[in-house]
Subunit: 332 residues, 2 copies
DNA sequence: CTGAAAGCGCTAACAG
DNA sequence: CTGTTAGCGCTTTCAG
């Protein structure tokens, strides 16, 4: 907790002025190579680390960005964060993480804090893909929404193309020869659930097909998956594949179907959504699933933010394609 | 991206000097109430937010802390982070999140960055509880290790008392009348695996018992749990309970035992470790498990850090007790 | 090629 | 009670 080394100390040791030392250390100006070297050695020797506050006070840039997760930090936020860190870290930027816990008060408080810290930009993320009210209007720094999207079309949002994911799932099931496909997903009022189901139905319709039974809406849980299996079996509809709204649902379904004597994928093929490692690998057999590439979304959002910071902001919603990861649950 | 409002603008609008405005806004000095009010209104009107960089340049405090996760951000980091945020957010401190991804180079880079940002303190965390080399020596700011611990006993570490968790698990199984208890856990060379197993064996020994079969070491996966079930069944040892090193192992075991016709908990009672929501709830029946209270660890670590920042650093390893969460897998 | 000086926005003495 | 002044540590003209 000793007083930190300042650039003037470095300058003194190197026998130059602070201005010269600054130039030497930042590679600016036109200096004699030996002077530059002398300063660098002095800095090294003293363990000099520039004071970011002082620098940013001067330059107006802080090389920091804030990341506000509106819903509590969760499973989805991590890959987003990692992706963003990836893109920002390379540019020497640090991230302030703020967990607003779904509380508007906290959210505004954090926003204020971030502005006082003069972050260069803000990434807003959340647990649901549904559009949300902008976090603020006329903010002095660029904002990019990741995963979640802003209701204001002028804002920049980077989101997964969930409909694309559904299409891939259905096409894959069709490709492995299934025709009597059922859909089991989360709550009907949940944006992701309805978007995914709708797209799946449309994809079937485009092939002249319909779901084997009306889409089953429930919860995002294994328990619901197990329950849904019972429903499917009791309808007598001869389902040969199920596309689930989440890996958890799929897993519950797999378990219950297996218990009821159905063999996966021979009797029923299964596709999940999220490609959540512990779920798809724990499932028996391992689960084919749709990956939203959250890390890529985080990375793209960060890149968009950097672009905006550098003066070329993007607008509107950028939907990124999903990827199907085939595993044993749909193996032919 | 307009130039931000400065305190001198506020002062001008309120018709006072900047010094007075500063005092008014920070509740310092002795001002006439009406003056204070006038300044506050002016600040409000202009949407003034103090520049943190300028302030910290003056005061030497930044009210920021860095959190370095040595291993990649994972499931364990989230609750730790939430707990830390909780304790720090109250004190108006912001967190820089840095993911070193298990790369010493990145780690040192981040450390340097954090120091240049003049953070008031640093929390180091990771995926394994095993002691690690200190992140640096003679650092100008206090450091607290959370979950992970530092090999230097002079450093402050806040860790889960995993042995305590094991004791609770075994005592619970004994309390529900089990005597032929087996232990199935992760890799033998993994610190958590061995600590947990050792403590469980010791607890049994204290009751004059031994594990029903020699402790089974394997991986931290459901697959291993399933495999272990096969081993247990084939030994012919009449096991009436299994304490697993993780919820995933327990879940695999539950699945395989059920499939083999054993009923849980009637024939075999099961206790997991981690109390990971999706695992314990997805398990059939729901899994009794040991909770390390990661959020509490994060909170405590942050509190220790705040104490250190305020001049009263703690030293050594602080082990926090675990908690057993009973569910159907051990119901009597 | 290098030094001197000004100033980023704020706080903290110290006068008045 | 309020204003003035002097920096915090750094970058950046502008002279020399």
């Amino acid at each position: 907790m000793d007083r930190a080394v300042t650039i003037s100390q470095v300058a003194a040791l190197a026998g130059v002025s602070t201005g010269t030392a600054s130039k030497a250390l930042n590679g600016r100006g036109a200096l004699r190579p030996e002077t530059r070297l002398r300063v660098q050695q002095a800095a090294e020797q003293l363990g000099f680390v520039a004071n970011a506050a002082a620098r940013s006070l001067q330059t107006g840039r802080t090389y920091t960005v804030g990341m506000i997760t509106t819903d509590s930090i969760g499973r989805f936020s991590i890959p987003l964060l990692i992706g963003a860190e990836d893109a920002l870290g390379a540019g020497q930027m640090s991230i302030f993480l703020c967990d607003a816990r779904d509380d508007p008060i906290r959210e505004q408080y954090y926003l204020r804090t971030l502005l006082s810290r003069k972050v260069d930009g803000i990434i807003v993320t959340g647990r649901r893909t549904q559009a949300r009210a902008p976090i603020g209007v006329g903010l002095p720094v660029p904002v990019v929404y990741a995963f979640i999207s802003s209701a204001d079309p002028a804002d920049c949002s980077v989101v997964p193309d969930e409909a694309d994911g559904s299409r891939r799932a259905i096409r894959h099931l069709l490709a492995v020869g299934r025709r009597r496909i059922a859909l089991v997903t989360g709550p009907e009022h949940h944006h992701s659930a309805s978007v995914r189901a709708r797209a799946a139905e449309d994809t079937l319709a485009a092939e002249g097909l319909r779901p084997a039974v009306p889409t089953l809406y429930g919860e995002w849980s294994e328990a619901w998956g197990r329950q849904a299996a019972g429903i499917l079996l009791s309808t007598g509809a001869d389902v040969d594949a199920v596309f689930c709204g989440s890996d958890q649902i799929a897993r519950g379904l797999a378990e219950a179907l297996t218990k009821a004597g159905r063999e996966i994928p021979r009797d029923v093929a299964l596709v999940g959504f999220d490609n959540w490692d512990v779920m798809v690998e724990g499932c028996q057999p391992p689960l084919t699933s749709i990956d939203m590439d959250l890390e890529g979304i985080g990375r793209t959002a960060a890149e968009q933010l950097l672009a905006a910071i550098n003066g070329t902001p993007a607008h509107g919603q950028h939907a990124r394609p999903c990827r199907l990861v085939p595993r044993a649950s749909t193996a032919v």
